[in-house]
């Protein structure tokens, strides 16, 4: 009897450990499965983005702090890392490449503490403004301190050194992937544990009700400052890995647009669940690299996706997934599927119309010769003739009308499902 309970208590632990081991194994084996150069580069960037987005969510999701300047710490960490690499190259200091991110992270953490002290007295709008100001301040500093930021062309170094802890020397992209993956696993694990520490819990409490937190002994300013500098630490690690991966870093890495990227990436993934930013980082980085090769309009689609999330899915993709969890458990998911299917088709039609409109406009405004024919989905069309315009407007109108109709059906299906789940409870 006793053995039995012990065994059943052990089982979730064993299952959990096995699942984690499997995930780690898959992550480490990914480059063996996808061996193209493009895939290598993609995997490296995803790993970096995951750390960066999770560190951003320590502010936005866990601490309720909307920052417009998080890339400052990404960039500062990156610059510190590249200078460290450079010193290793020149034989000044023998720091193994594996530990360089630690130096970048620590550097960012110190700046995080300073900027955190001055920016986190209040959250919400004042915080957003100060971080924006600090971001612009550091970005403009980049041009007048060329010895650290390298001016327009940035700073570069060579990651291929003999000073390493492991047998790897990080000459090839595949070896760098192992470094990034290892740091990613460590950082994800640490950031997850952080949410369960007294600081992590109080960050949530301060986010929800800063006034009450003051009357249980905590100073919201201090809680936010520490959370902020820890988040800067992880952003610095991500930035360092960026520097190691590309062997160059420029002031763009700490600018406003880089901050905007991580904000949108995190938000699209969803700030309400720990795994949300991971989804966001994987999805957005993937789209970024794949779509940037196909279309100029990637940033527009990215912006539109973000707007849709803000308007209709404020908890991001992870929020949408978790919304379905109780439905799935109640076995009612199949009740939703038909309405989803009916919404999907007109949704795609609408989207196709938007794509055609956007692409012909880009062709007209950006290509050297607007009269030249362009190719869209393998079809040669002339952007200056009427048919593509008419087709696009037609698709958009039809798609929109049917999508609206389907949206009502989705709502009805949801009403039905919630009613049933309530009944099931009683």
């Amino acid at each position: 009897m006793k053995d039995n309970t012990a065994a059943s208590a052990m089982r979730p632990f064993v299952v959990k450990s096995l699942a984690i081991l499997a995930v780690v194994a898959i992550i480490l084996l990914l480059p063996q499965i996808f061996q193209t150069r493009f895939a290598q580069s993609l995997l490296n960037q995803i790993g970096i983005a995951v750390i960066f987005a999770l560190s951003y969510n320590m502010l936005l999701g866990q601490g309720g702090m909307l920052s417009f300047g998080h890339a400052v710490f990404y960039g500062l960490g990156g610059f510190m890392a590249i200078h460290t690499l450079k010193m290793v190259n020149n034989g000044v200091v023998p720091i193994p490449t594996e530990l360089v991110p630690l130096i970048g992270g620590a550097f960012s953490c110190i700046f995080g503490l300073i900027f955190g002290l001055i920016s986190t007295r209040r959250a919400a709008i004042p915080f957003a403004l100060i971080t924006l100001g600090i971001g612009e301040l550091i970005a403009s500093c980049a041009l007048i301190f060329p010895s650290f930021f390298g001016g327009e062309e940035g700073v570069s170094a060579n990651r291929w050194t003999d000073v390493t802890l492991s047998p790897l020397n990080f000459g090839r992209a595949g070896e760098v992937y192992l470094l990034i993956a290892a740091w990613m696993l460590v950082c994800v694990f640490l950031m997850y544990l952080l949410t369960r520490t007294p600081l992590g819990r109080m960050a949530n409490a301060v986010r929800d009700n800063p006034e009450r937190a003051r009357f249980i002994g905590y100073n919201p300013h201090m809680v936010r400052t520490i959370q902020f500098s820890l988040s800067a630490f992880f952003a610095g690690i991500a930035g360092s890995l960026f520097a190691i991966n590309f062997e160059i870093i420029t002031a763009h890495a700490l600018g406003m647009m880089a901050s905007a990227d991580v904000l949108m990436m995190t938000y699209i993934g969803g700030v309400g669940h720990f795994f949300g930013p991971i989804l966001g980082a994987v999805l957005v980085t993937f789209l970024q690299l794949v779509l940037a090769n196909i279309t100029h309009a990637w940033l527009l689609y990215f912006g539109l996706l973000f707007m849709c999330m803000v308007l209709w899915a404020p908890n991001g993709i992870s929020g949408l997934i978790m919304l379905h969890e109780p439905v799935w458990k109640a076995g009612l998911f199949k009740k939703l599927l038909p309405s989803y299917g009916r919404a999907l088709v007109p949704g795609l039609v609408l989207f196709l119309g938007v794509i055609i409109l956007v692409e012909i406009n880009y062709h007209l405004s950006l290509s050297t010769n607007p009269e030249s024919p362009m190719s869209l989905f393998g079809i040669e069309i002339s952007a200056q003739s009427a048919p593509p315009w008419i087709a696009s407007l037609l698709l958009m109108t039809v798609g929109f009308l049917f999508f609206r109709k389907a949206a009502f059906q989705v709502r009805d299906a949801w009403d039905e499902v919630t009613r049933r789940m309530r009944k099931g409870e009683h």
Binding site: G64, L66, F68, I118, S119, R121, R122, A124, I125, P126, A128, L129, I130, L132, G133, I134, E136, L137, S140, C141, L143, I144, F145, P146, S147, F148, M256, A260, L263, M264, Y267, A297, L299, L300, G303, L304, F306, M307, V310, L311, P314, V358, N361, Y362, S365, L366
Partner: protein, 317 residues
């Protein structure tokens, strides 16, 4: 030297009033709706592009009227069908929404007008030197910009102090919690104020776009400065925004003229800076004119640290 001061004063006035045209709308929107409109500079950009489009087809004078109206309509549309529906999720969601608008408008402008600056020119009628004093030329267009800014200021002042809507806005600015209890159609007031603020920014774009430059980066370049103005002036204070506009303009305009660095100062004291290179080398060699870009932000950060209410603000939030 006198010339430099005179020229800088005029430039300060022009740039400052342009900033005020943007910051007044932003301040009104923030004061009334508690929404920090990240996309405000996008309206400025749209104003310039609309004016470019209208002036190439019809002419500059119609553009002066139609472009701000068009931008105002865009603003109304965004408030009615976007901002209003995220209102229930709180201020952070509203800020995120306007940030999204900023981002998308930027890309749309590139989509329609391309990445390069467009040839939005000063109308020929105003393209002559009005007067020149002490070798400093003062073009007619600058006089025209001043005229427009001052008359806009007069109209705004009249609208706020003399009309019903203006009185509601004033009441709301000083007692933000009371907006709801004023017994007016609050969402409608919000919509008009948002549209009006957008139209003001659009007007700034019409007269500023050809004076400065009309390009897709113009919103990104000017937007943060407008935030600086609003923060320094005090969130929700129109007078503060006015003073801060001129202050920031002066700071940026006058900085250009000073090609003095720390090492020059040291040299005055008879100390010659070591020529070692590195970070301190940079620090000593920075000329004040190079800090033009960072000056407003430094000012804003210091302001928020030491006097979070701003120059004239009454609210801390």
């Amino acid at each position: 030297m006198l010339e430099f001061i005179l020229l800088s004063c005029i430039n300060t006035l022009i740039y400052g009033l342009l900033l005020f045209m943007l910051s007044s709308g932003l301040t009104l929107i923030f004061g009334l709706m508690n929404v920090l409109n990240f996309a405000h500079a996008s309206f400025y950009m749209l104003g310039a592009y609309f004016a470019y489009e209208v002036s190439t087809h019809i002419g500059f004078w119609p553009a002066l009227v139609f472009a701000p109206l068009g931008v105002g309509l865009v603003g109304i549309f965004i408030e009615r069908y976007g901002l209003r529906s995220v209102h229930k999720y709180g201020h952070v969601a509203e800020l995120l929404f306007t940030f999204g608008v900023f981002y998308v408008v930027n890309e749309l402008v590139i989509l329609i007008w391309g990445r390069n600056p467009v040839a939005y020119k000063i109308p020929e009628m105003l393209d002559f030197t009005l007067m020149s004093a002490m070798g400093t030329e003062f073009s007619a267009y600058r006089a025209f910009m001043l005229l427009i800014s001052v008359s806009m200021f007069a109209v705004l002042f009249f609208a706020i102090t003399r009309t019903r809507l203006g009185l509601i806005i004033q009441a709301a600015l000083t007692h933000p919690d009371m907006v709801g209890s004023l017994g007016h159609n609050v969402p409608l007031v919000f919509m008009y104020v948002f549209g009006g603020g957008a139209a003001l920014a659009g007007l700034a774009g019409v007269i500023g776009g050809n004076y400065l430059i009309t390009e897709p980066a113009m919103a990104l370049n000017l937007g943060p400065i407008v935030f600086v103005v609003v923060v320094v002036g005090g969130m929700g204070s129109l007078t503060g925004a006015f003073v801060a506009s001129l202050l920031i303009a002066a700071l940026q305009t006058f900085a250009v003229g000073f090609e003095v660095s720390l090492s020059d100062l040291l040299a005055l004291w008879g100390v010659s800076a070591p020529d070692a290179g590195g970070f301190f080398h940079d620090l000593l060699r920075i000329e004040i004119s190079h800090t033009r870009g960072m000056m407003p932000y430094l000012f804003m950060v210091l302001m928020l640290v030491f006097k979070p209410k701003g120059l004239m603000g009454t609210r801390e939030e």
